[in-house]
């Protein structure tokens, strides 16, 4: 009923706007009916997220904002806690002794936002759609014998060969977690975005107030039954303590900071570090790091074309780079960055810094020059792609370009918007014909903290991630890792992978940084998490 009324209101606003639209004064008073629509009732958290939400299908894209959206309105079977351990969320599980049969049992009281109960069939459809898109899911799919709903509550996943990391993969929090959607939604194509946004998560997506790229509103889902126990990262009880959460986008960092200081908004997911001094002046705002792992910034070269098809030249380039310079320019404040040579990130179980000396100690320009000479570099220009419209990626190319020039590279830095960059990096043409030699991007540490999921460690040539290394060694090492069944063995393989990665320069880790958030002091009980979640948070009046 409520929805119907809202729609009526919406429609009336529209019609009235259209008829009176030409009369300026009339429109001033009445026409703008639904731009912000009805005011949210009760307690509302207004949050500025790192980017605008535009894609609503969390399976089709790996964009963080869409994943965060997924955690708002969907729930997952298994979730990792702050110790990287998989914990039951929607389902408990048992594993057969031969590690081939996983049986998940849905807990009681799970309901979709439209009131229908969550069934095993929904979960199976969702997992199947997910496993078509997610790289980890694809690995599991390769060894899957069957995945079926035994009854309304029971899901049985039978494997052809053991997959020790199955629970970690199903429970991972980043780069496409398997969100559970109703079967009617999940049974659609994995390449076409969904249009029905019914989930079973703690918040309900308010479609009428959704403005792509500008704002999105979530209402508390009254029928959500949280799991018992305290919440920890993605796991545990998701207790919603406010009525409405509203994400708004502010294209301008300055604006957001002014807005939180004047109390117009409650939360900024990522504050630009250079602007922290402004916030320091405010007594009403707390700046803190919610996720200590943060991000890894990286450089990736193109293995298909000269000069970076030559490993020596790749090494020379890596040698020329200094993490300190990159991070110092990008972040500036040492409190928020960490020089870290570990490809799996510092502070993670697999993290190890072997072989990263030059990167972490300010670079070795002379060594790079020498190496470059030995490699017989013929002054082939290096096409370095620089995005102009993504704040967190503007510094790396500029600093790297300078470092490479210092080492004797002939750098052709080409500025472009991010869109052009993501399109162009998919091109395997030669750099002079619309291809490229090197670009930079950032990963959340949980997205690269394991050889199973880190896209850069794929060595399958044309099927690998952009840059397309053909590297059998890394493939062998990854197989070895999958087979490793104890943490100790896994760590051992991980170190080998670390060494090999830096030696053949599969990619260049340029250090780790965290992104502080700002919250109004009215917000309390925020749990630490790499995903900015809105359960547990309380808001004072």
């Amino acid at each position: 009923m409520l929805r119907i009324q809202e729609r009526l209101h919406h429609f009336k606003g529209h019609a009235r706007g259209a008829t009176l639209g030409l009369l300026a004064s009339a429109a001033l008073i009445s026409g703008a009916g639904f731009a912000t629509s009805a005011m949210a009732e009760g307690k509302t958290i207004t949050a500025v997220m790192h980017s605008g939400l535009r894609v609503l299908d969390p399976i089709i894209t790996t964009a963080h904002i869409t994943r965060n959206h997924g955690y708002m309105i969907y729930d997952v079977l298994v979730a990792v806690d702050e110790n990287f351990a998989p914990q039951p969320q929607m389902a408990d599980w048992t594993v057969s002794d031969d590690n081939l049969v996983y049986t998940f049992t849905l807990r009681d009281g799970l309901k979709f936002h439209d009131g229908a109960p969550v069934t095993a069939a929904d979960a199976v459809a969702s997992l199947q759609r997910w496993s078509k898109k997610d790289s980890g899911g694809q690995l599991i799919a390769d060894v899957t014998e069957s995945l079926e709903a035994k009854d309304d509550k029971t899901i049985v996943w039978t494997l052809k060969a053991p997959f020790p990391a199955l629970l970690d993969t199903v429970g991972k929090q980043s780069a496409v977690p398997p969100f559970i959607m109703p079967e009617r939604v999940a049974s659609g194509s994995a390449d076409e975005a969904i249009t029905d946004y019914t989930g079973s998560g703690p918040f309900v997506f308010v479609q009428d107030e959704y403005q792509p790229g500008v704002s999105v509103t979530y209402k508390k889902f009254a029928d959500y039954v949280p799991r018992e126990g305290a919440s920890s990262w993605m796991a545990g009880g998701k207790n919603v303590m406010v009525d409405t959460v509203k994400w708004v986008t502010m294209p301008d960092a300055q604006t957001a900071i002014n807005a939180i200081m004047s109390g117009e908004i409650d939360y900024i997911e990522q504050v630009q570090i250079d602007l922290l001094p402004i916030l320091a002046a405010s007594e009403d705002v707390t700046v803190e790091t919610r996720d200590d792992l943060g991000y890894q910034t990286i450089g990736r070269m193109n293995f298909k074309h000269p000069p970076f098809d030559n490993v020596k030249i790749r090494q020379a380039a890596q040698m020329a780079l200094s993490q300190e310079d990159v991070l110092g320019t990008l972040i500036g404040n040492p409190d928020y960055y960490k020089v870290c040579g570990a490809i799996f990130g510092c502070g993670t179980p697999l993290g190890d810094e072997s072989g990263s000396d030059t990167l972490t100690s300010g670079g070795d320009v002379e060594g790079a020059k020498k190496l470059l000479q030995e490699a017989g570099y013929d002054n082939t220009p290096i096409v370095l792609m620089q995005p102009t419209d993504v704040v967190s990626l503007t510094a790396q190319p500029v600093v790297a370009a300078q470092a490479l020039r210092n080492a004797g590279f002939n750098v052709d830095m080409q500025a472009m918007d991010w869109q052009t960059l993501v399109t162009r990096r998919a091109s395997q043409a030669t750099p002079s014909e619309g291809g490229w030699n090197i670009f930079f991007t950032n990963w959340m540490v949980p997205e690269i903290n394991s050889p199973l999921i880190s896209p850069m460690l794929n060595g399958r040539g044309d099927n690998a991630w952009f840059g397309w290394p053909q590297d059998d060694t890394i493939e062998a090492l990854r197989a070895e890792f999958i087979a490793a069944d104890t943490p100790e063995k896994q760590k051992e393989v991980a170190v080998k992978i670390q060494q090999h990665t830096l030696e053949s320069v599969l990619y260049v880790p340029l250090g780790q940084y965290t992104s502080p958030q700002a919250r109004s002091n009215k917000l309390t009980n925020m749990i630490p998490s790499p995903v900015p979640v809105f359960w547990n948070i309380e808001k004072a009046d």
Partner: protein, 313 residues
């Protein structure tokens, strides 16, 4: 008159067709792939290709064009590639902030600029004239975002009179709307005021030299009556014209102002769409703004008859 209107509306058709073809080709020749945006960082080339196909981007250009034109003729603008929302709905959601701010800006500008220009012309070559001219040159010379930041710094941060940013619809309370709209409007109005004041002054200077002004004075009519009753109406046509052509300038300003003041309007929508290669949204917006520009100028042309009875169509 009616015949003229019909002819003018018919003349709009080729213009809009050229705009449509031009924009379509421009966009499709632009490097950039909406599929890559949708899929994110981890997508493989095969996945991208599948998404492209499902969006219809793999079809030959002319097929895409025919599809789009077919939609247009049905009065639809298509569906956003990125957010999977109908373009008309997206524009519908975001047109009102822009519209309200633009209308308020125009009203504000005319109210400020016309008297400024009239007085400057009347007091030609006095300090009033020089002050008005200095302002109008200055208004042209400062980038609109600098003006915006200046206003924020002064009125919101130093004086704390007004909110820093955001937008509230008039339905949420007129005061609330006004508090948030006044700075963007002033920012936008600066250049518009400069433009209109300048044109008003020039046009008035010309009219004030006319014989009928001398006649009016010879009748012993008061100067205010001479200025506003006799001169201004005769000077109105070029002023109206500049208000119409200045509309294009306003659009440019709106794009910037919306991002400085965080207003969820169509200006930002368009820029975001361009950067994301969301073709249907860009095409829809450009078509819409072009159509609006043409329409406004048509209305202004017709309004000439109101100001000048000699003009008959």
């Amino acid at each position: 008159m009616l015949g003229y209107i019909i002819r003018r509306i018919l003349a709009v058709i080729p213009v809009m067709v050229i705009v449509a073809v031009f924009v379509f080709l421009l966009l499709r020749l632009t490097p950039g792939d909406p599929a890559a945006i949708i899929a994110g960082d981890m997508a493989t080339p095969a996945q991208l290709e599948r998404i492209r196909t499902s969006l219809g981007l793999s079809d030959p250009l002319h097929v895409q064009f025919v599809t789009w034109v077919g939609l247009l003729l049905k009065g639809e603008l298509g569906t956003s590639l990125i957010s999977n929302t109908p373009v008309t709905q997206m524009i519908g959601q975001r047109i009102w902030p822009t519209f309200n701010i633009a209308v308020m800006t125009i009203i504000l500008s005319v109210v400020i600029a016309v008297p400024m220009g009239v007085i400057a012309a009347w007091r030609h070559r006095t300090w009033v004239d020089y002050a008005v001219m200095a302002f109008s040159v200055l208004g042209f010379s400062i980038p609109v975002f600098v003006i915006g930041y200046l206003f924020i710094q002064v009125f919101s941060i130093e004086l704390r009179w007004l909110p820093v940013q955001g937008y509230a619809a008039p339905t949420d309370g007129f005061g609330k709307f006004l508090a948030r709209a006044i700075l963007p409007c002033l920012t936008l109005a600066t250049i518009y005021v400069a433009l209109i004041a300048r044109m008003t002054r020039a046009s008035m200077l010309e009219v004030l030299g006319e014989d009928y002004i001398r006649t009016a004075r010879a009748k012993g009519v008061k100067e205010t009556v001479v200025l506003f009753r006799h001169a201004l109406r005769n000077a109105a046509v070029p002023i109206m014209t500049i208000i119409g052509t200045g509309f294009a300038l306003l659009i440019g300003g709106v794009v910037v102002t919306e991002s400085v003041f965080n207003i969820p309007g169509v200006g930002r929508l368009t820029v975001d769409a361009i950067l994301a290669r969301d073709y249907p949204v860009i095409q829809g917006m450009i078509l819409l703004t072009s159509g609006l520009y043409v329409f406004i100028n048509l209305v202004i042309d017709l309004s000439y008859t109101f100001f000048d009875p000699r003009i008959r169509y």
